[in-house]
């Protein structure tokens, strides 16, 4: 059944010609190239590698990076729409795009040297190279500032030791952006290439969420990298968090796509499925669920849109991203769960996409700042009092 986006408030009319063109092209690409094999990949726990060069060719990796650096040079609103359409297929593929674009290309573009930009950005945008972002450690998730991974300089080289966990794309990455603390306590960012001595990236298995995405440990035992691999313009942890703001922005849009996918599936289902001699859609309780979902999707999409417009104007604050990420992901997860109830037993099979989104969104709720941490960010913004430590 062809996808039809819920557009209750004529959201499309808020988009300009270029935004509509990109959305429609990506929508068609997702339907044709991503949807067909996705459930099988999810079940097997594999990433659909064949789509990486195709995404590169289309320009979906590095949407906001300037054209002269190999990106598409487009607006943040367009990047958001790309995330929305891709996450309609699967949060794992959107995660790949988020990491590549916001957590690897963005920091190389913003904090990297000319040589680093020239070498990595074209490869990353074509999909010839894959990147990952190593911040989280086994003991430091919500408080990455406590990280134990260390680095120190020896002549023209840096020596890095430590362990990272839950790193998207880690095992398959050609370049890992690793964050480590130096002897003065400052956080530095390094580009660690695949195959470096002392560096391994075993995959973390047995996940029941984001199964299409590769999640890995990064183990660094006295890994030596030249000074040329340090991101020279990094200014401590703030720089790492700056990347996360970019990625979270995309997630706020992506979550809308996942919710739309579930809603679309269920809307077809309730009209076809007959129970007690009438379509499921004809029961008030079903309609109450659908009305709530349609309202939440509409609100979430408008929130993402406003965030995009502010980002493109240069007036967006990270605490606003927190509100959009927090709201939209939670709402998407709640919608996915509600859709699952409507599908009954069918909802627990991979024949229907809703169950896959339910599982995936549990990760999205936790990564890139947990639901609770974003409440603290918003709380601090409205009260002026930080409440991270009690």
């Amino acid at each position: 059944m062809a996808y039809q986006e819920l557009d209750y408030f004529r959201f499309s009319e808020l988009l300009n010609e270029e935004e509509l063109m990109v959305r429609d092209q990506v929508r068609a690409f997702v339907d044709e190239k991503m949807m067909p094999g996705i459930a099988e990949h999810w079940e097997k726990g594999t990433f659909p590698t064949e789509i990486i060069p195709q995404m590169g060719k289309l320009g979906l990796l590095g949407v906001t990076i300037p054209e002269e650096c190999g990106g598409a040079g487009m607006s943040s609103t367009i990047y958001g729409l790309v995330c929305q359409e891709i996450e309609r297929c699967d949060s794992g593929i959107r995660s790949f795009v988020s990491v590549q674009t916001s957590l690897v290309m963005y920091p190389i573009f913003s904090y990297g040297s000319e040589e680093q930009k020239k070498y990595w950005l074209p490869k990353l945008s074509s999909g010839e190279a894959i990147g990952c972002f190593g911040l989280t450690e086994p003991d430091f998730g919500s408080n990455p500032g406590g990280m134990r991974t260390k680095c120190h300089q020896e002549g023209d080289e840096w020596v890095i030791s430590g362990q990272k966990m839950w790193i998207t794309n880690g095992t398959v990455a050609d370049v890992s952006l690793v964050w480590a603390r130096d002897n003065e306590g400052k956080i530095q960012g390094f580009l660690v290439e695949k195959g470096c001595e002392g560096f391994t990236a075993p995959e973390q298995m047995h996940k029941w969420s984001l199964r299409c995405s590769v999640t890995s440990e990064l183990v660094l035992e006295n890994v030596r990298v030249p000074e040329a691999n340090r991101l020279p313009k990094v200014r401590g942890l703030k720089s790492a968090l700056g990347c996360l703001t970019q990625a979270r922005y995309g997630i706020a849009w992506g979550a809308v796509g996942a919710a739309q996918a579930c809603f679309d599936e269920v809307l077809h289902y309730v009209k076809e499925r007959e129970i007690f001699d009438k379509p499921l859609a004809a029961f008030q309780m079903t309609q109450d669920k659908l009305a709530w979902m349609a309202t939440e999707i509409t609100k979430a999409q408008l929130l993402a849109w406003r965030l995009g417009r502010m980002k493109d104007e240069g007036t967006m604050h990270s605490h606003q991203v927190s509100m959009a990420k927090r709201n939209n992901v939670k709402v998407a997860l709640d919608i996915a769960r509600e859709c699952r109830t409507i599908l009954g037993a069918n909802g627990i099979t991979l024949e229907y996409q809703t169950g896959r989104h339910v599982c995936n969104l549990e990760t999205v709720l936790t990564y890139e700042g947990t639901h609770e941490i974003h409440a603290l960010v918003i709380g601090e913004a409205v009260t002026g009092i930080p409440a991270y430590r009690s």
Partner: protein
């Protein structure tokens, strides 16, 4: 090779349409797309241009101001230049009126090949391509699934009931494109950026007096409820009778 392709902005086939004033589509809240058959025409134009080694693709539309989006999409796929023959009433024009308007614009230009979609998915009249070719006095091959051009000769394949037909014609020639002719490419984000820098001319166009008038549009009647004729094999004779005599499909 100078190629002109023709495109139309049409309502998406998944949109739920409503009728306005009893004889027109209500465009409010409707998603519009590039007519899917026109995508085959654009793709073919790009492939034929690439094959010939040099050439130029002009993409043309008779449409309202909104049709710029569909023309830009064609530019983003790879067309070189676009022309919008603009008239706010164009979406309601009949095929003959559209053909008359396009013909006038084509006459003012040099061309070797005209590429049309075989039909637009809104009005489904299949007429514009052949009508333009007829008015220009050039050959037209419709619903083409394979196209080969060598030394000024067009060799085209089309599917006919139970087989294939192979047709030859000299250039200049008009072709209407059928599904299967090629696999239209997606417009890349870079292509969409590049399209912003390509020429899109907009010319206000008088469409003259329409040749036909749409009196009325109606939604299809609600399907009557099904009827159970019996169960198992015993019901087959009654079913056959009903299919033959009531539904008249046997």
């Amino acid at each position: 090779m100078k190629i002109i392709t023709f495109v139309k902005r049409v309502p998406s086939t998944t949109t739920r349409v409503l009728i306005k004033d009893g004889n027109a589509l209500d465009p409010t809240g409707v998603e519009f797309i590039l007519n899917p058959y026109d995508e085959f025409a654009i793709e073919e134009a790009i492939q034929q241009k690439d094959k010939s080694g040099d050439g130029h693709i002009l993409v043309m539309s008779f449409g309202s101001a909104d049709s710029q989006k569909e023309l830009r999409t064609a530019l983003a796929m790879g067309a070189d230049e676009a022309l919008l023959l603009q008239n706010p009433d164009a979406p309601n024009a009949d095929g003959a009126t559209t053909a008359r308007t396009l013909t006038a614009a084509v006459k003012a230009r040099e061309f070797d090949l005209l590429l049309f979609g075989k039909q637009s998915v809104d009005k489904e009249q299949h007429g514009v391509g052949p009508a333009v070719a007829t008015a220009l006095g050039i050959p037209c091959i419709t619903e083409v699934t394979k196209l080969d051009i060598t030394d000024g000769t067009v060799r085209a394949e089309r599917e006919v009931e139970g087989g294939r037909e192979i047709i030859e014609a000299p250039l200049p020639c008009a072709i209407t494109c059928q599904k299967g002719l090629n696999q239209p490419r997606f417009a890349s984000l870079k292509g969409i950026m590049a399209a912003k820098r390509k020429t899109l001319d907009i010319v206000d166009t008088d469409m003259g007096t329409p040749l036909v008038e749409v009196l009325k549009m109606e939604m299809p009647p609600e399907r009557p409820a099904g009827r159970i004729l019996g169960e198992g094999v015993a019901a087959v004779p009654a079913l056959i009778t009903a299919l033959r005599e009531e539904a008249k499909v046997l």
